[in-house]
């Protein structure tokens, strides 16, 4: 798959085609978006273990805009397009019952996927900013899609906080452009190597850290997350947690840190401390929640901490832990949001106190939720266990035993608040539970079930991907990051 522009062209074309033809062909939004995201997922699988550069308009770097495909971007493409496909499949019935205007919904969803694919592939800082804006602006509308007062408030909060973060990013790009007169990421690396790291470069990094840290939902930049995740439709929440905060936040932050600015001890400490803060604060906040989706939002903040911590360790094993947990988190987090969507679809309620005894009425949702629970809490042999184990081993190897201890404490807290969900939603019941409400409840429609089952199976067998360690499936990702700045220059300029 050498023509990387198709990852942007295909979803964007369908996003613009949907509003034109959907008035006559009512089935078009459902079918086209599911088919297209599936094709994109197949394309992304084809990029595995593949490395190439695509020049826009035939202009070489650093004059033109380039797309760079390496191990890290390939893995992110697979994650984003898989979650996108699952979200489209889940939306077919979910959006029909709970929301209206499918054509607008799918159009925006495909624009988000376009933006994320663009951010992952681009090798140009300003081009990345443009794709970031495409994904974010579409997601602002998707978060407030319900048009209720709380949805609009959440969307507005999401918009304001992310606009401020975007401003920081924009200022960082402007400073780097002013300093080096180039926007090509690999060319910036060669300029930094030539002129050295001065105060402008350090200030630009701080701006990027705050900006992308906000998008990555790490503490203390996480204020938008609980409201946005709660208000958004369940597939959008899954895409936010499984795709947007990872591709627009973690991915860009790690790409900039490892491949542009270069990893240092100060940055490593920064990541580790922010990671530990996210793990503990996110988990403690989640413990006290009674709204299903709000609890999942704080859980997301907590797990971003694990990923940041893994990357912050700096060693190949730490990077592997971070990358593997990023992959696993996308799977089980999307599954959990789909579970919450299924519960909302059938009961119309997300308050844990008012829910109960759904395990008999909704067996597929219940079992998949149990698998996601085991997976996220780090219970063997599910995928979450292996990634957390790798992070713990990497932390001890890197001489940070206390970081490993915080990871263990975070896992125990995760176990506690997910046991709460199982107790109140599926196997027991809340204080305000009304028996008559669950009388007519049945399992969700087949397409929603399919996405639940696929993700549950992937969570169960996902641990196998850890085989081979740093030389296994995630080897190219670890090499792309651990190779540092010289590796990236080599990829782009072929040196």
């Amino acid at each position: 798959m050498d023509n990387l522009s198709l990852f942007i062209a295909i979803p964007a074309a369908v996003a613009f085609l949907i509003p034109i033809v959907s008035h006559r062909l009512k089935w078009f939004p459902d079918v086209s978006s599911s088919v297209i995201t599936f094709i994109l997922f197949l394309f992304s699988l084809e990029t595995l273990n593949h490395q190439c550069i695509y020049q826009m308009g035939g202009w070489p770097a650093p004059i033109g805009i380039i797309f760079v495909l390496d191990g890290f971007s390939s893995m992110m493409l697979i994650i984003v397009n898989l979650i996108g496909f699952m979200a489209c499949l889940f939306s077919v019935d979910y959006m029909e019952k709970i929301y209206t205007s499918k054509l607008r919904y799918y159009s925006l969803l495909l624009l988000v996927i376009t933006g994320m694919n663009g951010v992952i592939l681009t090798g140009d800082l300003f081009n990345m900013f443009i794709f970031l804006e495409i994904a974010l602006i579409a997601s602002y509308a998707l978060v407030g899609f319900g048009c209720g007062s709380k949805d609009l408030e959440a969307s507005f909060k999401y918009l304001v906080i992310n606009m401020i973060a975007t401003y920081f990013i924009f200022l960082g790009i402007a400073l780097l452009y002013g300093r080096f007169a180039t926007l090509n990421m690999a060319h910036i690396v060669t300029s930094i190597q030539q002129y050295g790291t001065d105060s402008v470069v350090i200030f630009a990094f701080v701006l990027f850290f705050v900006g992308f840290g906000t998008k990555a939902a790490i503490v203390p930049f996480h204020a938008w997350v609980p409201d946005a995740y709660t208000a958004a439709p369940a597939p959008v929440s899954a895409l936010l947690a499984g795709g947007i905060i990872k591709s627009l936040g973690i991915y860009v932050l790690m790409r900039l840190t490892y491949n542009i600015f270069g990893m240092s001890q100060v940055i490593a400490n920064l990541f580790v401390y922010f990671g530990i803060a996210s793990i503990i604060i996110g988990a403690l906040m989640a413990l006290g929640q009674w709204n299903f989706k709000r609890l999942l939002a704080y859980h997301s903040i907590s797990h971003m901490g694990y990923i940041i911590l893994g990357f912050g360790l700096g060693s190949p094993l730490g990077i592997l832990g971070g990358v593997f947990h990023l992959f696993n988190h996308s799977l089980f987090k999307s599954l959990l949001f789909f579970n919450s969507g299924s519960v909302e679809y059938e009961t119309g309620n997300l308050n844990l106190r008012k829910l109960g005894r759904l395990s008999e009425k909704m067996p597929v949702t219940s079992v998949s939720s149990l698998i996601a629970f085991f997976s996220t809490s780090g219970i063997p042999p599910f995928n979450g266990f292996w990634s957390k184990l790798i992070i713990i081993i990497a932390a001890i190897q890197a001489g940070r035993p206390f970081s490993a201890l915080w990871v263990v404490i975070g896992s125990i807290l995760t176990l506690a608040y997910f046991a709460k969900i199982q107790r109140y939603v599926f196997f027991g019941n809340g204080d305000e539970f009304d028996e008559s409400q669950v009388k007519d409840i049945k399992e969700v429609p087949s397409l929603m079930r399919v996405s639940l089952i696929i993700l549950a199976v992937l969570c169960t067998i996902g641990g196998l991907l850890a085989i081979g360690g740093v030389n296994g499936v995630f080897g190219p990702v670890v090499n792309a990051l651990a190779g540092g700045t010289n590796q990236y220059i080599g990829e782009v300029f072929g040196k």
Binding site: A9, A13, P19, M56, G57
Partner: protein, 169 residues
Amino acid sequence: MKKNNRTGMSLIVKNTVRMVEGFIFLFGIYLTLYGHISPASGFSGGIVLGCVFILMTIAFGKNVILESFGKTPAYIFNCSAALLFLVLGCCGILFGGFFSNFLEKIFPSANFRLFSAGLLPIYNIIIAVNIGTGLFMVFIILAVRRVIEIDGTRRLISTEFFDNFKEKN
């Protein structure tokens, strides 16, 4: 288009808009067509074109403009322009890369010729249509559309229906 109905602003505003709308429209087209060789582009030209429609909506009232150029044609124009832009970009793949300026390769550029910048003037026209209709749509949705809840479903409706709905309830 009937511009003499009672809606809208005063006669002075209406007459002034009647006098200037053509010139502003022409200026928008000038900015668009001249964009590839001057500090202008389809974006700024499109903004000016969109502003003409907004000005007419303010001066003559929303009904006048919605009768002649409603929301549906606006977003069909908008999406078609975006799609056309993308299709031209994809055509470039056959000539060396996504968004490759293939027209320049077919008709080699020369000064003072119609296609002196290859595809750029065409891109500018498409962008002008996209931006102009997009700006107009944003204005129309903010100005004359409201979200209401009818039988548990939320709908985006025109303000006149909204007024009727409020009177009924």
